[in-house]
Amino acid sequence: MSEDQEKKMEDKKQKEIKITPIKQGTVIDHIRKGRAMKVLKILDLIDRDIESIVSVAMNVNSSMGKKDIVKVEGMELKNEEIDKISLIAPEATVNIVRDFEVVKKHRVGLPDKARGILKCRNQNCISNQDEPVISEFEVVAKDPVTLRCEYCERKMKGEEISENVI
């Protein structure tokens, strides 16, 4: 088999993984490569007591380069939950699937605030000192996504945001 053919086979296999259908639930596509676990974390899908099967595909080939995909079977995520993803994966698209059909497809939207999902990057911030408070950030710019701590006003963007997912 030539190298070209091998690559085509590989791409086909990748595509199969990507489109493995779920009967009902949520497929989050076009997650920036390497961010899938952060997406699970931000959606609280790792520790939460849920029945759903959650599957993750990482490093998947696509026309836009490599990407990650997350599939949550039997569970339709709410918009406000989904919007949290935009903080770390602004290019992600969300597909709601019912009976093997995509019934709703949309890009994630930025929330106005991020509460309790990130910690402030300023170690000296009062929100990092074992006080009974929930971290809170205001979204002050959209491109690139920039957050400002409600307590110390320190700003975070890009990698700083994904590095500080709680």
Binding site: E150, Y151, R154
Partner: protein
Amino acid sequence: MKDVFEKDHIVRIKDFTRDELTTVFDLAEEMIPIAEGKKKNNDLEGKLLANLFFEPSTRTRLSFEGAMKRMAGRCIGFAEPGTSSAKKGETLADTIRVAAGYADIIVLRHPHEGAAQLAANFSEVPIINAGDGAGRHPTQTLLDLFTIKREMDSISGNHIGIAGDLKYGRTVHSLTNALSMYDTKLTFISPPSLRMPEEIIDELKDKGIHHTEVEEIDEVLEELDILYMTRIQRERFPSEEDYENVARSYHLENDMLRDRDVNEDLTIMHPLPRVDEINADVDMTPHAKYFQQAANGVPVRMALLKLLMEA
């Protein structure tokens, strides 16, 4: 007067509208004879202020205490972290809730940034931020603005030079933010390694505020209406030699003022304490206003206490 002042707490200078600043300054002006002991006042009789100072700051604490007592109020509190319950591991949130049960207003100084916002979230009584970490110190900014207003008759229309450590100095960041609400011309004077953070410069650009950056006081001294000096800290420099080189050009002496054709009304300010940025021989010149500036802390804080407690 109260209708333009709707604050429950004083956390950051950015929360003030220009009308609210005017309200504070007008009331502070009325407070001056009382602050100077020339007129009696008992507006805050029966009121109790709690000074919670988790790090020492003699001047700020004394001026709040003075402000309260000039209006017949009383104070409780602590001035050293070692004497507080934080030593025993109590959270700030709990300390605040307890103190709010004892006093009518809380003045907080704390080593962590954002402490005043947290306190405001948990307190039933007004919180005044008297400095939180490297963060904010709004009452210092208010007294700086009040001093400019008193000395120059108005804040707008002045060319203000801010000199020293502009990178790390919280005083100059807050002051710049506040001045951007007025029509002023700003010149930032600092060594290249201690320039005003880009974030603050960007905000000025967005607001269309006229500003320039230079490296030597000499370059602009003759053009200034106000020169706001701050300390340059030795520890910001890699070597003693680097520090000495810079410190020399940020050392103001009377000779410098005499040799130059400075504005007759040039006002020199400094948040104090100074180390060697301003030579003692400048103190006797009519330009030196830094002690007056410190004294202005009392009427400004009186105004804030009145506005918050009589609301």
